[in-house]
């Protein structure tokens, strides 16, 4: 659904996006992570044919971003960083305006607007001037605008940035519900918890380059090493347990040990068996959660920060 090859954008002498490759299939959610100014917004703008790539190509929903910009934009719903609504319009007028720009028939526009406003808890405020909306309500309406024409590709820049926890949850659930076999979603976010919930793929961008790209587990493994496990015992350990050469014990406490393994499915049963053979009573064995935040910070701190790219 989204294929980008060597996507590059230069503003005069400044290289904002440097040879980005993406391949996001239908039904997948790609999270773009990166520090402020890393090139996320510029990448999204190229994927919507608003910015013209200096080099490289991209196809979105089957259309070429350079040769078929109108068809690309018709297939994409975009939540922009600045949602900038028209303050003197109400929500129904606003959605009707954008729906008509996407060529939707009047009946469908009204039906879809009513449905989305209801889903996002804005139905009661649908006739209020948008200038009277709170920041969170505006953000939700901007998201509704991005979805009004039911596009096969959604590009969402900070979809929950101004929202309270309840609204954030609602939007996250909405994004998850929008994930379907024939829709691709790209989300730019700084909220790593949100990224963990939503991501099928993660791309970490810094200084215009993708420095890491893959599934959540893959990213974590790349930057934090193999998964880590904790074994808790019924009684304090008398001596250091002996495990196979392939298992690296990373920590040891009075009644617990931590270890890493590249192949947990194969090695964890062996570990359990070995510990029990040594007469140790195992209470629990569980994976120690390695946060995406730690992996992300590890990734972006590998090279010192130099410049901003958005």
């Amino acid at each position: 659904m989204i294929v980008a090859e060597n996507l590059t954008k230069k503003f005069d002498e400044f290289l904002a996006v440097d040879g980005v490759h993406l391949n996001v299939a239908a039904g997948q959610v790609l999270i773009l992570l990166g520090p402020n100014g890393a090139g996320k917004t510029t990448t999204v703008r190229m994927l919507t044919s608003v910015l013209h790539p200096t080099d490289g190509t991209a196809r979105v929903a089957g259309f070429d971003v350079i040769k078929e910009p109108e068809r690309v934009r018709a297939s994409v719903g975009v939540l922009t960083e600045n949602h900038g609504l028209y303050r003197r319009m109400n929500a129904l007028e606003y959605l009707d305006f954008f729906g008509s720009l996407y060529g939707m028939p009047a009946v469908e526009r009204r039906k879809r607007a009513a449905m989305l406003l209801e889903q996002f808890g804005l139905a009661e405020s649908s006739r209020r001037r948008l200038g009277e909306y709170s920041k969170g309500m505006r953000q939700k309406l901007a998201l509704v605008r991005a979805m009004v024409h039911n596009p096969p590709v959604l590009l969402l820049d900070e979809p929950t940035s101004a929202m309270d926890p309840e609204s954030s949850r609602m939007v996250r659930d909405a994004i998850l519900s929008l994930r379907s076999d024939d829709r691709t979603i790209v989300v730019c976010t700084h909220n790593l918890g949100e990224a963990e919930v939503l991501a099928d793929q993660i791309a970490i961008i810094r200084r215009g380059k993708i420095i890491s790209y893959g599934g959540l587990a893959e990213i974590k493994r790349r930057f934090l090493g193999d998964p880590q496990f904790e074994v808790r015992f019924a009684a304090p350990l008398a001596s250091r347990p002996v495990l196979s050469d392939k298992i690296v014990i990373t920590g040891i406490g009075p009644d617990w040990i931590h270890y890493r393994t590249a192949q947990p499915a194969r090695h964890n049963p062996d570990v359990l068996r070995s510990l029990m053979e040594q007469g140790l009573q195992v209470v629990s064995l569980q994976e120690i959660g390695q946060s995406l935040e730690t992996a992300y910070l590890e990734a972006v701190n590998q090279v010192p920060e130099e410049g901003k790219h958005d």
Partner: protein, 469 residues
């Protein structure tokens, strides 16, 4: 086609509706539409009565259409404010990007915005004029003639289109509303001067000239819309944030175009300069045609403005010229050269502010006068070819090609500004066109004019003395 226009209508309708919800726009439009015409009615009645008391009825009669023009013009001031805000205002409010992400084509978005800025103020103008004329009818003041009324209406429309299309160009290129407002003086001042000129013509009663003004503004309006569309860039609207003149960038752009990538002077002269001339072949052809036509027009003007030179005077006047231009004296030659260069610079300045159009005025005037001069000599007993050989040909062989090249470079400036270039901003296009002009001036025009000036000062008068009886 209708499908293509539909989005234009959607954009325009939303904008117009939005404007009519803003009291800051409504109030002045209503004020200028309803209240101001009544004031003008009162003024017209007072002036008519006053003028009649002193037997100056004509002053009153001319005042009635003049006030109608003013009533129609005032609501247009609101259109300037609306148009200046069109793109850059939305950019500042952050609402432009969602619009740019829709499948609208550039021309649809641009035209929609343009219409939205023109329609409300023009509606205000028409209402104002209607109220004014209605008031005159009630007061039994004679209404302007039908043709004059039509002229004022058309004049108002083209003024609105010129102002709005100019302001929309500014709005789509400016980086902030503040910058757009500052740049708006480039619209307000010329339009104010234009209104003054129109007022003079209206009092003078030379209505035919006003139709020419309508035609001129129509051309300007078309050019402005064309320029706006040619340089409208979604990317530029989102990209530029900083209101700072970047002299270093400007100089780099100028130098790159001026040198044309030449490594040394030889390359520049034999590759970069010919390449620049090659790039403006069509402009050269057009200017050559204009030059030929202007000579013909100059020739024809002799019939309207005949002059007689007594045969005895011819010789004594030539002797005076020879005394003024002693052979090999540098001063007269340099004066002629500098004068010709100065005219080219004036042509450039005129051209820059008129998309190259007024840049052709100096060559038209110069060659028109030459045509008249030849006709004058021919009608005073000198054979045409002798007149040409004696007074023009020796130096014109060098000067006229130089003038044509310089004028073509100015004309090319206008063509480049009005032509879409996906790779360059309007600023880059303008700087590149100026660099081309400078390249042609320095490489070809200045040397040609220098040779021409030397011949004109030192050789032509001698030939004239030899050939004249």
């Amino acid at each position: 086609m209708i499908e293509g226009i539909h989005p234009v209508w959607i954009i325009a309708r939303r904008e117009v509706r939005d404007q009519f919800r803003d009291w800051r726009i409504i109030f002045p439009i209503v004020g200028l539409t309803v209240l101001f015409p009544f004031l003008m009615n009162f003024t017209a009645q007072q002036i008519l009565d006053f003028a009649r008391d002193y037997g100056a009825d004509i002053v009153g009669e001319r005042m009635v259409p003049f006030l109608m023009m003013i009533v129609g013009f005032f609501p247009l001031s609101a259109s300037l404010v609306i148009a200046l805000d069109t793109f850059v205002g939305e950019k500042e409010r952050g609402s432009i990007e969602p619009l740019l992400n829709t499948p609208l084509k550039d021309w649809q978005l641009y035209t929609g915005k343009l219409l939205a800025a023109i329609v409300p103020s023009l509606t205000g103008s028409f209402l104002g004029m209607a109220v004014y004329l209605g008031g005159l009818a009630i007061q039994r003041v004679p209404l302007p003639e039908l043709e004059l009324t039509l002229l004022i209406i058309v004049l108002t429309i083209v003024q609105a289109v010129v102002m709005v299309s100019g302001a929309v160009v500014v709005s789509s290129q400016a980086t902030s509303v503040r910058a757009a407002n500052l740049l708006s003086s480039f619209i307000i001042i010329p339009v104010a001067l234009l209104i003054q000129g129109e007022s003079i013509l209206m009092f003078w009663g030379t209505y035919a000239t006003l139709w020419w003004a309508v035609f001129g503004m129509l051309v300007l309006a078309v050019l402005l819309v064309r320029v706006g569309l040619a340089h409208f860039r979604r990317e530029e609207l989102l990209g530029r944030e900083i209101d700072v003149l970047n002299f270093r960038w400007g100089w780099r752009t100028f130098r790159r175009q001026f040198t044309g990538g030449a490594a040394n002077l030889h390359d520049w002269y034999f590759k970069a300069v010919p390449a620049a001339v090659g790039g403006m072949r069509k402009a050269v052809l057009i200017i050559t045609i204009f030059a030929a036509v202007s000579i013909g027009i100059g020739w024809a003007q002799f019939q309207r403005f005949p002059l007689e030179i007594p045969a005895a005077d011819m010789g004594s006047r030539l002797s005076q010229v020879i005394n003024l231009l002693p052979t090999l004296s540098a001063k007269p030659m340099l004066l002629i050269w500098l004068q010709n260069l100065r005219v080219q610079v004036i042509g450039l300045i005129l051209g820059v502010f008129s998309y190259g159009i007024l840049g052709i005025v100096p060559i038209l005037a110069g060659l028109g006068i030459s045509g008249y001069l030849v006709a004058l000599l021919a009608n005073n007993g000198l054979p045409v070819w002798t007149a040409i050989m004696a007074f023009l040909l020796p130096h014109s062989i060098f000067e006229i090609p130089g003038l044509i090249l310089a004028t073509a470079a100015v004309f090319q400036f206008g063509i480049m500004i009005a032509t879409s270039d996906a790779e360059k901003t309007i600023g880059e296009v303008a700087i590149s066109a100026l660099a081309d002009w400078a390249k042609i001036m320095l490489g070809l025009v200045a040397p040609l004019l220098l040779i021409g000036a030397a011949i004109e000062a030192w050789v032509t008068p001698q030939i004239a003395v030899m050939l004249l009886p």
